[in-house]
């Protein structure tokens, strides 16, 4: 109380803050970035540990040896898939029944809001097949899921083959204490969504599906298999789920430890771990891995079939087999053993690890909270600086731009999907293009709005007016970024890095043209564009400007689709909150 209620000291404190405002902000901002990049540096990060429950991976004896059979099953599956011209449901049901599972199917259908050009689908209908291996030694209260997608073309046959071989092997063991569900889903995430919604009796996204006939206990963990070749060189562990959710750290550690024990190469983000953290190359490598993870997490989509499980509080990960030109080969038997050991270990409850945000190396993880403080303090100090200037309650002058920017945001959120038919009628574009281009058009039109409305409604803006508006907007941005960072740290961080410098320093007295250019270049849409290029650069597939632009368009359409199909939050967040907030700052720039 003393510090805040003593008027003299208080005054001194505020004076100090106002005087040192700019340096404090710059230091905070730089410190946040340096700290963040420091995360990739091993000594900076906390060492991960294996909690006691996940330990003892060596105590499991793995005897799975039917790798060859898995491959022959895969060939058989492939043949039937070709014959059926899609998922061979009858064959799968028979194959699973022959292995002693209780087999059920579920049909689903979904009409996409607009055609998905990446995966070429619009009206989707399909069937999921799943078999339940009942636990022999315990009441059926808990379950594990092993899933393999049935994808079109030639891919993923080996995953289904391995699934069936594993089912056969698991059936012969007598010690299972959890039900094990073997699921083959069609149309990747859409099928998975239908199955999960059916299993949990929810309907979040308006999908049509038939109810599930058989259920097992509550699902504890899930593993999605994606194998496309008879021979693979390394296994990539995919963690990023919907809305940037990540599974429990123990799951990751466990998997990594098993890989090492069984002598398989395990990569994360497609990059092998290096041990030379003290060299420049080592650091660059770790930083690249981290940036990839940040970008993937920030975009909020599910990068593997496991991503939707995380929403139901089920720990899940995807394993993708990668075939590159390494000498080292891993065969199906090893992967089968891996999955087997994994299932065995799922007997134990995972120890809760709450803060797991990045894997600069698989071995390291960090505490999120400190970071959030760092990127937010820069905003909040700024809010202070404005507040210290005496402000009269010009609430009504502030209300107009706030309401207008939010209405623009609502338009950006609603109109693209609803106006596609009209757009297709009047312009020679496809539906998908229509949606994306409408979104971009509304976005650009929003830039023209505040400039004109301000003049029309209240004439020349007052000095007091923009200060109040800036205070409101900064507070809004700080709260927004804080909340975003809590839910999806990477997204919050990327937005903070791009939005904070320009929004913090904006005033109507700066050179208009220059500032406007800077603001547009740091606006949310351009941030997405940069992310596309950086991502392409990081996965070592650089693109030209034209290709980058096409990718940018498809990213937007995918974002809207992800929101409509799976309830991803990035698109509504950007359209309804971040963009209006940015427009408020844009408004300040053109205040008088």
């Amino acid at each position: 109380m003393g510090l805040l209620s003593d008027p003299n000291r208080r005054k001194a404190l505020t004076n100090l803050l106002t005087r040192l405002n700019t340096p404090i902000c710059i230091v905070c901002y730089l410190a946040a970035i340096v700290w963040f990049m420091g995360l990739a540096f091993e000594p900076f990060t906390l060492r991960t540990y294996m909690s006691e429950n996940a330990m003892g991976s060596t105590m499991v004896e793995e005897r799975f040896s039917s790798g060859e059979r898995a491959l022959s099953l895969a060939k058989e599956f492939d043949a039937h898939k070709r014959k059926a011209g899609g998922m061979p449901v009858e064959w799968l049901v028979k194959a699973m029944q022959a292995r002693g599972l209780e087999v059920f199917t579920q049909s689903f259908s979904r009409k996409l809001p607009f055609p998905d050009e990446n995966k070429e689908r619009y009206m989707v209908g399909g069937r999921n097949v799943y078999g339940i291996l009942r636990a022999a030694r315990a009441p059926r209260t808990e379950a594990l899921v092993i899933t393999a997608p049935c994808s079109p073309g030639n891919s993923n046959n080996q995953a289904v083959g391995l699934l069936l071989a594993l089912a056969q092997y698991f059936r012969n063991q007598i010690y299972w204490a959890k039900d094990i569900i073997f699921l083959v889903n069609e149309h990747d995430l859409i099928g998975m969504q239908a199955w999960l919604e059916g299993y949990h009796h929810t309907n979040i996204t308006g999908m049509e599906y038939s109810p599930l006939q058989g259920r097992a206990g509550s699902i504890q963990a899930a593993l999605a298999l994606e194998l496309s070749g008879d021979v693979i060189t390394s296994l990539d562990l995919i963690l990023e789920g919907l809305n940037g959710q990540l599974p429990n750290l123990d799951l990751t550690n466990l998997f990594y430890a098993f890989c090492q024990k069984l002598g398989a190469l395990c990569t994360i983000q497609g990059k092998l771990q290096r041990n030379d953290w003290d060299t420049a190359e080592g650091y660059t490598h770790a930083a690249q891995t981290m940036m990839l993870m940040v970008l993937k997490q920030a975009c909020g989509r599910s990068w593997g079939d496991h991503g939707l499980f995380l929403r139901y509080h089920i720990e899940a990960a995807s394993i993708r087999g990668i075939n590159s030109f390494r000498h080292y080969k891993t065969d199906a038997t090893t992967i089968g053993r891996l999955v087997f050991v994994f299932c065995i270990k799922q007997w134990y409850k995972h120890h809760s690890v709450y803060f797991f945000s990045f894997c600069p190396t698989v071995k390291c993880y960090i505490m999120e909270v400190e970071l959030i403080c760092r990127c937010r303090c820069s905003c909040i100090t700024l809010a202070f600086s404005v507040s210290l200037q005496p402000s009269s309650p010009g609430m009504l002058t502030v209300l107009t731009p706030v309401v207008i920017s939010h209405l623009t945001g609502v338009a950006l959120y609603l109109l693209p999907v609803h106006l596609q038919e009209m757009a297709v009628e009047h312009f020679p574009v496809s539906e998908t293009e229509a949606v994306v281009l409408t979104a971009i058009a509304i976005y650009t039109a929003g830039l023209a709005l505040p400039h004109n409305t301000q003049r029309l409604l209240s004439g020349e803006g007052t000095e007091q007016g923009w200060k109040v508006l800036k205070l409101t907007a900064l507070l809004y941005l700080a709260v927004l970024l804080g909340c975003t960072a809590l839910i999806n740290f990477s997204l919050g961080f990327i937005l903070a890095v791009t939005l904070v410098p320009i929004t913090a320093s904006i005033t109507p007295h700066m050179p208009k043209a220059l500032c406007a250019l800077a603001m547009v270049l740091l606006s949310p849409a351009f941030t997405i564009l940069y992310c596309v290029f950086i991502y392409q650069e990081l996965i070592e597939a650089p693109v030209s400007v034209g290709e980058g632009w096409m990718l940018f368009l498809s990213v937007i359409s995918q974002g809207i689709l992800d929101h409509a199909l799976y309830g991803s939050l990035v698109y509504p967040l950007l359209a309804l909150f971040i963009y209006p907030c940015w427009l408020m700052f844009w408004n300040i720039l053109f205040w008088n």
Partner: protein, 434 residues
């Protein structure tokens, strides 16, 4: 004055109507910050269903409203279905709206009464320009009707809005000087949620001051009036409780409503301080700590009444705020009630520092509640400690908000005269500077 108020009412009604129609209504009515086990509409519906089936609504552990409330809803629901042929859903929306409309009028009148009763004319001129004073009722109405907390609690159909209406009516009657109505309404408010019991002291002080009876324990006139008022209060409380007994035919509601409020068996997280503490507690110490926690609400009445006996209206404000902080199942609707009173003390704002900081804290907390709830319950990347930390911060903000005006009073025991002189001297200083 009428025009802006009408406009305000239209805006407020539109916002609520739109929200009622949108898909958000269902989401909001599930939020633990907005509804508590005491006032959730879902539970009222359950109670109504049980009543219709001829089962006591208090059998089972779902319904915790008072009997009068359930009979009120019983009839409004019936009335709606027969006459309007609309769903009970809409009726409740309407009734909530009407309640808030009434409240706006009440506040307006109450403010006028407050203004004319409390301050001598010259002091008033010094403290506020007439224009400013003219807008105070409008501001109070705006603070209540457009407060997001009120809107949320109305859209969630929380019966908290009705309790607030009763308390507002009580204040209105008190300021109007009607001891009888004030006593009855206070009894009704107490009957609804026990805690308004602490408003007895400020109401009594107000009447004493109004009738120029000094607070002196040796004076017979003091005792005479106190007994009179207490008799009205206790009498109507007995009548209401008796009425509920005859309506229901059993005393089931006593343990189910008041026992539920006092012993806090439902530990669903909310914005209050109880749930986390009692979830962590050893069963052995439960009784002791329940006493400690519950005494908070009642205990402050004595020192505050002694300190603020010259300013009973301010004391009412303080008591309502304390109730909303320390009650066992608080919701944002309770917070909204005392926040609506803040504009009435706007003349203290120039002494009220840190208001920006406090409002930032409250704002950030309100945004963080749903986020941390999501992280805890759905994402699994946070736990109850996070949510409770925000609860603590929120309550800290609230405490800070009410403690500032109080310390102003404390530092200037002369009250208004002193503040006027303060104000005079500051005006004088600033004129010297210029």
């Amino acid at each position: 004055m009428a025009a802006p108020l009408t406009l305000l009412l239209i805006v407020a009604v539109t916002i609520r109507a739109v929200l009622f129609r949108s898909s958000l209504a269902e989401l909001i009515s599930e939020r633990v910050e907005v509804v508590s086990p005491l006032n959730a509409w879902k539970r009222v519906v359950e109670g109504l269903a049980l009543l219709d089936l001829g089962v006591s609504p208090y059998s089972g552990d779902v319904f915790h409203e008072t009997p009068l409330m359930i009979y009120l809803f019983h009839f409004t629901v019936d009335y709606a279905e027969i006459v309007f042929m609309v769903s009970p859903y809409f009726v409740d929306c309407l009734s909530c709206l009407l309640a808030s409309l009434d409240r706006a009028k009440i506040f307006r009148k109450q403010k006028y009464a407050l203004e004319s009763d409390r301050y001598p004319a010259d002091c008033l001129e010094l403290l506020r320009s007439p224009k400013e004073m003219f807008y105070i009722p409008l501001k109070v109405a705006m603070f209540y009707l457009l407060n997001p907390f009120t809107i949320l609690s109305c859209v969630a159909k929380s019966t908290c809005g009705l309790n607030n209406a009763i308390i507002a009516l009580f204040i209105f009657c008190t300021l109007k000087g009607s001891a009888l109505l004030s006593g009855i309404l206070l009894a009704l408010a107490t009957y609804q949620s026990i805690y308004p019991l602490t408003l007895f002291a400020p109401a009594l002080l107000f009447f004493l001051q109004r009738l120029y009876i000094p607070v002196n324990l040796r004076r017979s006139s003091f005792w005479c009036f106190t007994l009179q008022y207490a008799f009205i209060y206790v009498g109507s409380l007995v009548v209401i409780t008796g009425l509920s007994f005859f309506l229901l035919g059993s005393w089931d509601f006593i343990p189910s409503v008041y026992g539920f409020i006092f012993s806090v068996p439902d530990l669903t997280p909310n914005i209050g301080l109880f749930w986390y503490f009692f979830a962590e507690m050893f069963e052995h110490f439960r009784l002791f700590f329940i006493c400690v926690f519950q005494i908070n609400v009642f205990f402050y009445t004595i020192p505050l009444s002694i300190k603020l006996k010259e300013h009973p209206v301010f004391l009412i404000f303080m008591q309502i705020a304390i109730i909303s902080i320390f009650k066992s199942y608080p919701t944002v609707g309770d917070v909204a009630l005392y926040m609506a009173f803040l504009p009435a003390w706007s003349h203290l704002y120039r002494f009220l520092r840190n208001i920006f900081l406090v409002s930032c804290v409250l704002l950030a907390c309100s945004a963080l509640f749903p986020v941390l709830w999501h992280l805890w319950i759905y994402a699994g990347s946070a736990n109850s400690n996070f949510y409770y930390a925000i609860t603590l911060l929120f309550n800290f903000g609230q405490t800070f908000l009410i403690i500032r005006p109080l310390t102003r009073r404390r530092k200037h025991p002369g009250g208004f005269d002193n503040e006027v002189s303060c104000f005079k001297s500051s005006v004088w200083k600033s004129s010297l500077k210029s």
